[in-house]
Each structure stands twice: as C-alpha cells, then as structure tokens.
C-alpha cells in the first residue's frame, strides 16, 4: 500500500507507542501473561476434573480483567487523566456523567445521590421489636433521623428528571414509629426551625455533613436526651462561643468528588472545631488500645494536609476519631452521668467526640461490621440509653442483600 507521507499520523504513532511503553513499564503485563500461561498449563497437565479446571475460562477472564485494573492503577500521572475527564465533563456541563452510579451534580457543583423507594416494613418491625426489648430492660431508645444532602426529593425530579425517595422513605418510617409511641428526632425539622440551609450543612463533594453540622446536631441530641430521657446535660457547652473554629479553604476533595475529579467540582473547605474549655478523656478501641488526654486525642491533625494527595489521601471527614468509631468507648472524666450506646454510621465521626463532652460514657457500634449479639452487648454494658443515629439514606438498604448496609436495621 502506498501513501503520501502523512507526518501527522507518523507523529501520532510515535506518541501512541511511547504511551504504551510507559504504561507497560509501570504496570505488570508480563506477570499477568505468566499467570494466564500457568492457568493453561494446569489445565493441560491435570487429569482430574477439578472445579479449578472447569473454571478455566472464568479464571482467565479474571486475569484479563486485572490487565485493565493494573493499567489504571499504575497509570503514569493518573490524576492528570482524572482531571482531564472531569474538565471535559464540566465544560460540557454533564451533570449526570455518573448517573449510572446514582450521583448527579447540581448547578453549584453540589453532588447529590439518588435513593430507591422502600416500604420501610423491615426497619419499622425491627425498631418496634427492639424498643419492646429495651423497655423490658428499662433502657431508653432515641431514634435520630439525620438528613441527606437535600430535604426535598423534588430537587432531583426537577433538575434531572429522576425519581428519588429518601425523604419520602424517612417521612413514612418516622410517621410509623411515631404512631407506635417511639421518641425520635427528625433533624430536618430542627434545621428548618433554626433557619438553617441544608446545602450549607454538607460538603459539596462528600456525602457527609460538615463539622459545624456535627456540633449543631450534637446539641439537638443533648437537648433531646434531657427532655425525653431525663438527662441533665448543660447544653450551653455546645454553644459556638465555647469553641475555636479553624478554617481551611479549598483544601481537600470529598469521596464523591474523587469520582468526578477536582477539575469538575473543585476542592472543599474544612473547619476544625475544638473546645476552649478543659477536657479529660479516656478513649478505648479494640485493636488500638487506650489513650488518655484532652479533646485533642480524638483529632488526627496529620490528615489535614491542604492540597496534598487529594485523590489518595484519607478523607478529612475522618479527622475526628480517625481510628474509627466502631467498638470505641469514650469516657469523660469531667462528667459523672450518662452511659450511652450509639448505633451509628459514618455521620457519627463528628458526633461521638462532641456528645462525649456532655455524657460520661459513649460507646459506638456500626452494625454493618458487628457480628455478635447486640442485645448481649447492651445487657453486659448496662447502658441507660441507646441512640440510633443514621443518615436517612440507610432506610431501604435491607431491600438489597448485596448492600454493605444490609444489617444496619437488624437489632438482634
């Protein structure tokens, strides 16, 4: 075949093979090829019809899948490509670029998620049964509904033409447990009463609420503990004037934002909140031992590295209780009353430290990880109150057996 010399194509060819060369040098194609050859060798030499032999195709597909995974993981300057993808999506105003993952971007680059409808039957039955059991033991139950990033499901319908049901699911469940006489707090009502805007309460690029929201929510919970469970927490201890607020601007990227890229949604702000008054805590966590000290032992400031490792570094939401809150115990030596168990999700990373300021003993469990008997744990520890504090998006997870949050409402 004869062509007039096309220098553009020649240069593109050279560029293409330089890219392939760099990718091959950084990734492990040779290792994967050796694995595939060894699978074939096993198939040829084995006389027995083993499960492995019959699954040769599956194993080869797994190895081939690793090629793409390996290539992506080891891509030279992967973040440049992520940013290119994000930049193009932003330039073309593609708000539903990852709608297949159920996430959308509003006009203010605020990432929101979509949630399915549920009957709430499982959650309701479990809460009722749990409440009955706690009543027999003389233990208070307080259900706290934490909002998601929007309080009206119509937002997604109007902006993106998709139906979402998180707020409707929460309304239904709370109505049902209210009719059954169970005390609850719906923080959506509290934020409206306090004149707050839900969009200011959450990170734009992360599904969690911010530290200011954590402090505010803790005050609401403390007031509810006083009113409904007979506590006498001095709620003035949660006034903003009692804390220092250190602001970090445009410094980190939330978990949702890491999918869309910083070039699309931009970086987040962060506020580190610390009490001005004296504190004295003991923190115990299985696997991490025991630590004693001021409120500062609940903060890991090594996470706070502005503009560094924005894709791979830890999420700043986990600055508080960075070792994890599951199976943790926080004891406040300055307070004599109150022994609380929080059945929590990751929202409670910024609740537990502040609640421990007003309560003597706060233990936390994340039921998605807890495999033992919850009721035995409660009996053994003699709590006076159990708080179920979930983001309302937890409602409905039991409809999907593959969900990591499948057992969050299983209170056995």
């Amino acid at each position: 075949m004869r062509y007039n010399k096309n220098y553009g194509k020649i240069l593109l060819t050279v560029f293409f093979f330089i890219m392939i060369g760099v990718i091959m040098a950084k990734s492990h194609p040779l290792k994967i090829c050796i694995n595939i050859v060894s699978i074939f060798k096993q198939e040829m030499i084995s006389d027995e019809k083993s499960e492995l032999q019959q699954d040769v195709t599956g194993r080869i597909e797994t190895e081939l899948d690793k090629v793409e995974e390996d290539f992506v993981e080891n891509m030279w300057h992967k973040e440049l490509f992520l940013n290119l993808s994000g930049k193009m999506a932003r330039n073309m105003n593609m708000q539903g670029f990852y709608s297949n993952l159920g996430i959308y971007v509003t006009d203010d680059y605020y990432i929101v998620g979509r949630y399915s409808y549920t009957t709430t039957d499982y959650e309701y039955e479990q809460i009722i049964d749990f409440k009955d059991w706690l009543d027999e033991k003389g233990i208070n139950l307080l259900y706290v509904n934490a909002p998601i990033k929007y309080v009206e499901d119509e937002l997604l319908m109007e902006e993106f033409g998709v139906a979402t049901y998180s707020n409707q699911n929460a309304d239904l469940l709370l109505q049902r447990i209210s009719d059954a006489g169970i005390d609850y707090i719906d923080l959506r009502d509290n934020l409206k009463e306090d004149g707050m805007n839900v969009y200011d309460m959450f990170y734009r690029t992360d599904h969690h609420w911010n530290t200011e929201s954590g402090l505010w929510a803790t005050k609401v919970i403390a007031e509810a503990l006083n009113e409904k469970c007979g506590y006498s927490i001095d709620t003035h201890v949660y006034d903003n004037s009692q804390y220092t607020f250190t602001e970090y601007k445009n410094c980190w990227l939330g978990e949702q934002g890491r999918k869309l890229a910083v070039s699309y949604v931009g970086l987040e702000d962060y506020t580190l909140i610390k009490p001005k008054f004296d504190t004295d805590f003991i923190i115990t966590r299985d696997g991490s031992g025991t630590r004693e000290g001021t409120f500062d032992i609940m903060i890991d400031e090594t996470i706070l590295k502005p503009n560094k490792d924005i894709y791979d570094g830890p999420s700043w939401h986990y600055t508080y209780m960075s070792n994890g809150i599951h199976e943790s115990e926080v004891q406040n030596r300055n307070v004599k009353e109150g022994k609380v168990l929080i059945l929590a999700d990751s929202y409670s990373q910024v609740i537990v430290p502040f609640l421990a300021i007003g309560v003597s003993d706060v233990k936390t469990l994340l039921l998605r990880y807890y495999e033992k008997s919850l009721r035995e744990f409660i009996e053994t520890n003699e709590f006076d109150t159990v708080i179920i504090l979930y983001a309302q998006s937890m409602i409905g997870n039991h409809d999907n057996p593959a969900s990591i949050n499948y057992d969050m409402y299983t209170f056995k």
Binding site: M1, R2, Y3, N4, K5, N6, Y7, G8, K9, I10, L11, L12, T13, F15, F16, F17, M19, E68, E69, V72, M75, K78, F81, L82, L84, S85, G86, M88, M92, N93, M94, Q95, G96, F97, S99, N100, M157, E158, E159, F160, G161, V162, A163, H207, E255, Q256, R258, K259, A261, Y311, S315, S346, S393, I404
Partner: protein, 341 residues
Amino acid sequence: MERLKHQIIPYMQHYIFPFLDKFNQGLCQDILNSIIGGDGEAFHERRITFEDFSEGTYRFIIGFNKKILLANTLANITGETFSAGSGDVSMQLVWLGAICYSMQLFFDFSGYSDMAIGISQMFGFGCPENFNYPYMTASVSGFWRRWHITLGAWFRDYVYIPFGGSRVKNKNRVYLNLFVVWLLTGIWHGSSWNYIFWGLAYFIVIAFEKTTGWPEKLESRLCRILYRIGTLLFINFQWVIFRADGMKAGLMYMKSMVWCPQNALADARAGFLFRDNFVFIIAAILLCFPIIPSLEKYFEKRKSTRLVWNTVLAIINGMLFLWAVSLVIAGRNNPFAYANF
C-alpha cells in the same frame, strides 16, 4: 422408513452434503486468506512498512475513540431507557433510547472493526472493510451492503450462492434462498425468538424490494426520500427488537414508541439526558455521514492544505485519544471508601 430411504436421503446427498463440503472448504480458505492475506505466495511477499504501521495505528486510535467516546457514552442512555419499566417511560424517552442505540451499536461495532483492521494493517495484513456509512442507505437491501459487510458477504458466498442464489430457474426459489439466509442470520446473532423475528423481518422487506424493484424504480424524488426515511425507521425499529430482553420486551418498547401515556417525569428525564449528552449525540449523528472523507477529499487536492489538514486531524485524534483514555481511567477509578457509604 421407506420415505427416509427414497426421498430424504437422496435430497440430503444431492443438496446438503455438497453444500456442507463447499462450506467447509470455503471456511478453511477464508480463514487462511484472512490470516495470511492471500495465498502462500502472497504471504511470502507481505512486508511490514512504517507507512502501513502508522496507518494501522491511526486506524486503531480512531476505533478506540469511537468505542469509548461515542459508543460507551450512548450506552448509558440506552441502558437506562431499555431497562425502564413500561410505567416509567414516555414517547420522548423511548425514541431517544432507540435512536441512541442505533448509533451506539454502529460506533461500538465499527470501532471494534477499526481496531481489528488497524492492528492487522500494522503487521501488513489486509482486512476487508466492515462498514460503509450504513445509515446513508437508500434501501434495506442497500443497508446490508454497508453494515457488517463481511457477514453479508459470508452468507452470500457460503449459503445464498451454493443454494443457487438468484440464478435459479424457479423464481420462487430465490425467496426460499433469501428466507434461509435471513433465518440463519437471525440465529447467528443469538438463539432467541427476537433475533429470529429480527432476521425474518429483514427477509420480508428485502423480498419486497426484490419484487417491486423499489426504491430504484420509484420515479418521484419525493417518493425516494420518503422511502429512505421509511428505511431508517424500519432499521431503527429492528434495532429495538435486537436490543430488547426478549420478544415481549421488544414489542412493548415498540408500542411505547408508537403510543405512550403522558409521563411528565419521563419527559423531563428525556430532556435532561439529551441536554446532558448533547455534544455526543450530535457528534454521533454527524459522524454517521461521510463528512470527514468529504473534507479529506477537498483538502487533499493541494499539498499545502493536505499538510495542514493531516496535521490538524492527527492532533484532534490524538487529543480525543487522551480523552478516551481518561474516561477509561475515570470509569475504573473507585475511591476507596465510597462503596462503604
């Protein structure tokens, strides 16, 4: 038993076994030709030149860009529309899904073909073209001379012609031959009733065109234009049957395309999907036409414009390639803690 001995066995000996022999020989020769690009002598004369190598690489890049930028993006729309329940759709939404699927399939398949042709070209092997702007077709018969050309050629050479093709004494036999070809074409695509229906629907229309001589015999230009539009609509409906999860789902989808109750939410969704993917949808529609080859022909006339054109096109394709790679990486990028939410 007697019938078997006196009628069926001779029939098989006279028609089926020779066909199978020829099929086998032809298949082996075809594979040989594909692999070595011709006969033994040609094989030894095959040379790998840098021009071929760069042309092949360029072709591969174009195929990759088509697949990732166009096909995969349009697949997000079609995946949603084809999996929606009948109560969750509107006419706008299903038409958007159907048209996007027609383009998704084209760019997906032609993208893979380009990559295969490009890799072969890099090593000095010639592979036949598989697509020739199929949606430019004026008739359904013409469509199959532009779409998956190698498949059509294979069925022509190893099924239609051995059965006698069009050169049979009994003209009705032509239709039988066509019927067999399209039944097998449907089955080739999948062992499901919707594929068989899809193949036989093509048989009906192609038989109609053969009988009437349309659209070539249509004298009025308006009639030929209308026939072309009708052809595209027919092909579009056929792709709906092809894509659907079974015959029933396909018919339900087609019914929604013809009539659907008002659904404001689905309309809003269709509007959003169109706006959100506007650039890709428009680019896909434009690239269904031979715009690039026409521009190439225009700029190739003079050396100076040829150089500029070739360079600009290479830069654009290079940038599109980087963008396509970024989409692959972003698609695989799963931030460590996100799934735990």
